[in-house]
């Protein structure tokens, strides 16, 4: 069985790249190959100029790894014990170690639990500990495999701003695997999507939205329940996709302007409120995943059409222009 197949990419120094895909797509497999603990059956990998399998130990000194659902910390001992051990493991000079620990303690707010055994830490605290552990030795590259999994919003925000800071201040290259697309939108200039072991997208986050034929949605609140809205001819493709009492949902191509549509609706109906929803990146990604899993090359159908979401012909294969 092939976990990953024909995946090819290059990441430049200092980039923050999101690596996303459904469960079992091959994300962790890729990361394990990049760290040298898995040997690819075929192909060629270089990380920081090194062959990950043959030069695994030399590489391990230049990279940091966080597997979000795993920990490398000593469960029964205070967090500082694990950090001190890493100082010896990576032979970090004392001054540099103190400097880094001070900085990370400040950025990740570790002060309150540095001396508490890891088993007593909350998930968010433990994750901040694991992040520190991965970065104490100033790695040039850090792999983060689901670093925000299971975290509350405050901890997620702390992890994200920390990563942004480390990337900005130190130029650390970041490869971020996640299911949380907020992570991607807030941190990554570039995103790679893997599905069914294949790379199905590699480009900007905005480009990802344009990749499928995305739609925006107008949510119209009328003064009273009414039959389906009478929509103008412009923009083409606009249609009512849902009616719930006085509220109606109007989908239209993301590339079209909302203005004429709003003007026409407010002219013809008594409207209380209107709001506009951007194409949901989760939905966009879901379509890419389905497309990649089915390996189908048919054209994309529209996003947001409940009747079409399970159509097996859907795919992210269309290279549309920018959505906005």
């Amino acid at each position: 069985m092939r976990a990953v197949d024909r995946i090819s990419f290059r990441i430049d120094s200092g980039e923050v790249v999101g690596y996303i895909g459904p469960n079992g797509a091959g994300k962790s497999t890729t990361v394990k190959m990049l760290t040298g603990i898995l040997t690819p059956s075929a192909g060629h990998i270089r990380v920081a100029g090194l062959n990950p399998v043959r030069q695994r130990v030399a590489l391990a000194r230049r990279i940091g790894v966080v597997f979000g659902q795993r920990t490398g910390l000593w469960w029964d001992l205070p967090l500082t014990d694990s950090f001190e051990l890493l100082r010896h493991l990576h032979r970090i000079p004392s001054a540099r170690y103190r400097e880094n620990l001070e900085l990370f303690t400040e950025l990740l707010d570790l002060g309150a639990f540095l001396h508490i055994p890891v088993r007593q830490l909350s998930l968010g605290q433990r994750m901040r500990g694991d992040l520190t552990a991965a970065l104490l030795h100033d790695p040039r590259i850090v792999y983060l495999d689901e670093p925000t999994i299971g975290l509350d919003v405050v901890s997620k925000a702390a992890v994200r701003s920390f990563l942004a800071e480390i990337n900005r201040e130190r130029g650390t290259t970041v490869l971020l695997t996640t299911h949380d697309l907020d992570d991607i939108e807030r941190l990554c200039g570039r995103v790679m999507v893997i599905a069914g072991g294949r790379l199905v997208y590699d480009g900007s986050v905005d480009g990802l939205r344009g990749r499928v034929n995305a739609e925006r949605t107008l949510v119209v609140d009328l003064a009273a329940p009414a039959p389906r809205l009478d929509l103008p001819a412009e923009p083409p493709g606009a249609r009512v996709i849902r009616v719930d009492g006085p509220r109606q949902w109007v989908a239209f191509p993301a590339t079209a302007s909302a203005a004429p549509l709003i003007t026409a609706i407010t002219a013809r109906h008594e409207v209380v409120d209107i709001s506009l929803r951007e194409p949901d990146i989760d939905e966009v990604v879901r379509r890419l995943y389905l497309g990649g899993l089915r390996s189908s090359a048919a054209a994309a159908s529209s996003v947001g059409d409940p009747s079409g979401t399970d159509d097996p012909s859907e795919t992210g294969g269309r290279s549309a222009t920018s959505a906005k």
Partner: protein
């Protein structure tokens, strides 16, 4: 090298955090020391000089081996490694820039030192208060016993390391661990001193690696080996340590390719 000392230190400290477990363990080991002592007294009164031991040797054997149970982990103390293989956490361990087997050995030596110092001394001390024991009087015997105990821990580690690695193939090392535990209890001499095993069974049992974890250090303590015999006994332990550690390295290399199976 420093990093392995630090790992051993943490292996010691993490077990030191479970003080009530250590106290309970010391109490249990001591109680069973008395039970085993009386069983062996009955046996040696019926069969004096069995296997070259006298009654005092047999009683000493009972308490000394109760002392060794925890450090050499006869009943297990499964390496956390097996559990980490099962959950996939081992990926974190494999990517560390350190020797994988050496790391786990260092942690286990730390554990053993704590087990000996804070749990193991109790049964022997209690036995010495209640009975006349055959304690070594010469410093070089104590030294030889220290070396022998260290080698016993290494052999025990090397065996448990192989058991833990089986999880790469079996997905779970608990079954293998249970079987290995029974083999260890019988063939180490803990159930009955191997000197009392008759004929070919005795010779066979005394050649297996489990003899190196209980019977040999006990015989060194009792002064059964001297001169070339002592060197031979320690050599026997060292040989098993080297063979089993080397086997462990081979299996580690083979296991590395199995990482993908666990935890995605």
């Amino acid at each position: 090298m420093r990093v392995y000392v630090e790992v051993a230190l943490r292996g010691f400290r993490r077990h030191a955090t479970y003080r009530s477990a250590a106290v309970a363990g010391a109490f249990t080991n001591t109680m069973f020391g008395f039970i085993r002592a009386y069983v062996l007294i009955a046996l040696w009164q019926a069969r004096p000089q069995l296997g070259g031991y006298d009654v005092v040797d047999a009683v000493t054997f009972a308490f000394l081996t109760q002392t060794l149970i925890a450090p050499v982990a006869v009943f297990g103390a499964p390496l956390e490694l097996g559990e980490r293989v099962r959950t996939g956490d081992v990926a974190m361990d494999l990517q560390r820039p350190a020797d994988f087997q050496g790391w786990w050995l260092a942690a286990d030596l730390g554990r053993a030192l704590f087990a000996l110092g804070f749990r193991g001394v109790v049964p022997l001390a209690a036995g010495a208060l209640a009975f006349r024991l055959d304690l070594p009087t010469e410093p070089h015997v104590w030294l030889a016993f220290a070396v022998s105990t260290l080698l016993a821990v290494v052999v025990s580690f090397a065996l448990r390391y192989l058991v833990a690695l089986s999880a790469f193939w079996l997905l779970d090392d608990r079954g293998v661990h249970a079987i290995a535990g029974i083999a260890a209890m019988f063939f180490s001499g803990l159930l009955l001193p191997l000197v009392a095993f008759p004929g070919w069974l005795g010779a066979f049992a005394r050649a297996l690696p489990w003899a190196a974890i209980i019977q040999v250090p006990a015989d060194v303590f009792l002064g059964e080996h001297t001169g070339a015999g002592l060197a031979g006994a320690l050599g026997f332990q060292a040989a098993w340590a080297v063979i089993l550690l080397a086997l462990g390295r081979l299996v580690t290399a083979a296991a590395a390719g199995k990482v993908v199976v666990h935890g995605g």
